[in-house]
């Protein structure tokens, strides 16, 4: 069989050409994507990884909505310098409740995967509203409206129920109580709650910084 002859058949037949393209272009996905969807280790949470609370989830959705991931990655690569700078490298199991993933592709600002607990709530509040008041050389935009706008609480139950249907273990009680967690709060409160829990789903086994023996 000769590839050119086969191609001749395809280039004279619309349907065959479509079929050929579909077949050839689907191979990569069948190999790389499909098995990954079934790979257990990518779906198994780390020991300390838990679903987001209602407030954290609302904060995460603000992070998404404001496009924070255009400048901040949430992915510490398994490289010495990254581990030294940001903390233990990111594990797949830490992201099992992340829909969508927020690893990012660009670090205009620093990685945020282990930012949780690094700064106080007060610092985040000041920094989010006016970054240059605490980091004079920062080029991050300010988000003053987050401190002014009330947090929506009317959609949180739909969100939690949706996530539960995708396998996130939320109890009826949690869903029931969710709006109360959000009421009377500003958007910035939710975002800070989210930032403060980032990267806390992984606890280092007893040994030096960033050691990776698994």
């Amino acid at each position: 069989m000769n590839a050119l002859k086969l191609h001749k058949k395809l280039e004279e037949n619309n349907a065959l050409l479509i079929f050929g393209i579909l077949l050839v272009s689907s191979l990569g996905g069948l190999v790389q994507v499909l098995p990954s969807v079934y790979q257990e280790s990518l779906r198994t949470p780390e020991a300390n990884t838990r679903p987001y609370s209602a407030l954290e989830l609302a904060g995460r959705d603000i992070y998404i909505s404001e496009g924070c991931s255009t400048c901040h990655s949430q992915q510490i690569r398994s490289l010495v310098a990254e581990v030294e700078r940001y903390g233990p490298y990111s594990r797949a199991g830490e992201f099992v409740y992340d829909r969508p993933f927020l690893w990012g592709s660009k670090r205009t600002g620093p990685d945020l995967h282990r930012v949780g607990g690094k700064y106080s709530d007060d610092w985040h509040r000041i920094h989010l509203v006016d970054p240059r008041s605490v980091v004079p050389t920062s080029i991050m935009p300010g988000y003053p409206w987050l401190a002014e706008k009330d947090l929506r609480s009317d959609d949180i139950q739909a969100k939690l129920r949706g996530l539960r249907s995708l396998g996130h273990p939320y109890s009826d009680e949690e869903i029931e109580n969710a709006p109360a967690q959000l009421e009377g709060r500003k958007q910035i409160d939710a975002l800070i709650a989210y930032l403060q829990m980032l990267g806390t789903g992984f606890v280092e086994p007893e040994s030096g910084a960033g050691d990776s023996s698994e």
Partner: protein, 295 residues
């Protein structure tokens, strides 16, 4: 350990990858080196589209063949050495985790001795070492400056000045280390409800006077100070570093020393938080920071 797929998916990956790569080889080979003479691409006249659009019959260049050939040879070798084809972990038994562990072994081999030396060294010895103090300054800039300012002089009327003699949580090396390693949480409660507006105003005035060294016995705020504030800040207002209660009798003000700022503090309380860095920094780094700050 590399993260490898199970048996079924491993076979799936291996079969599709290998067969499809062979398919690519077949495509390139049969077009470059057709067997028999019947393989002229256009028998008879060539088709012409849209007036003058035609497909040329030049033979593809041989160097391109060598280009894709070498790319594929590289791929095959790479996939034999590294994890790629399903559960086959590759001849080198390489994984991200093992690579990082090796890098850290090298890292430790190179720096462990000098870091251990830092941990064992006396503070003055470290403080006299200009190179180490530069490292400490870098550490400060990377870990502390976002709150305490690049110069360490505090900022935003929230984050304390670390370059003065006043230490909210104590300025001894041990206390500074404790602060860095485990963090601190201050707890100044709001007093509005207990004191009322008048009470707050009186206490604010009294505290202001304390700081100026002009507090008199009969000051209207003194009584309330005595019943509400004295437990933490002490009768003379000198504070208590164990509780993180600042000294009110000096001229240093963390949250501002104007009557407005003091009133705000009294009304709403203050909950200053210093995050813990014990997990983020190693012993040598903490030691260097302590030496840097205790100068």
């Amino acid at each position: 350990m590399a993260d490898l797929p199970n048996t079924f998916w491993s076979g799936w990956i291996a079969v599709i990858t290998i067969v499809s790569l062979l398919g690519l080889v077949w495509l390139v080979f049969t077009i470059y080196f057709p067997r028999g003479k019947a393989d002229q691409e256009h028998q008879g006249p060539e088709p012409t589209w849209d007036d003058n659009l035609r497909e040329g019959s030049n033979a593809p260049p041989l160097w391109w063949f060598w280009m894709i050939f070498s790319a594929m040879v590289f791929s095959v070798i790479y996939l034999m050495l590294f994890p790629g084809v399903g559960a086959f972990s590759g001849a080198l038994n390489w994984s991200q985790g093992s690579r990082l562990a090796e890098s850290f072994d090298d890292f430790r081999a190179e720096y462990q001795a000098s870091r251990a030396a830092i941990v064992d060294a006396g503070l003055t010895e470290l403080q006299d070492d200009t190179v180490l103090m530069e490292t400490a300054e870098k550490l400060f800039s990377r870990n502390c400056a976002a709150c305490h300012g690049v110069d360490g002089r505090g900022q935003a009327s929230l984050f304390p000045n670390l370059m003065d003699i006043d230490w909210q949580w104590g300025g001894s090396p041990d206390q500074i280390e404790q602060t860095i390693r485990h963090g601190r949480s201050a707890m100044m409660p709001p007093w509005q409800a207990s004191l009322g507006d008048d009470g707050v105003a009186q206490v604010a005035a009294y505290v202001k006077a304390l700081s100026a060294g002009e507090a008199a016995e009969g000051h209207p705020g003194a009584t309330q100070y005595g019943s509400f504030c004295v437990a933490c800040h002490g009768p003379d207002g000198t504070g208590n570093p164990i509780l993180g209660a600042p000294n009110l009798s000096d001229s240093t003000w963390l949250y501002g020393g104007s009557i407005e700022a003091i009133t705000e503090t009294l009304n709403n309380g203050r909950q200053g938080v210093m995050p813990a860095f014990g997990e983020r920094l190693d012993d040598a780094q903490i030691k260097l920071l302590v030496a840097y700050l205790a100068r």
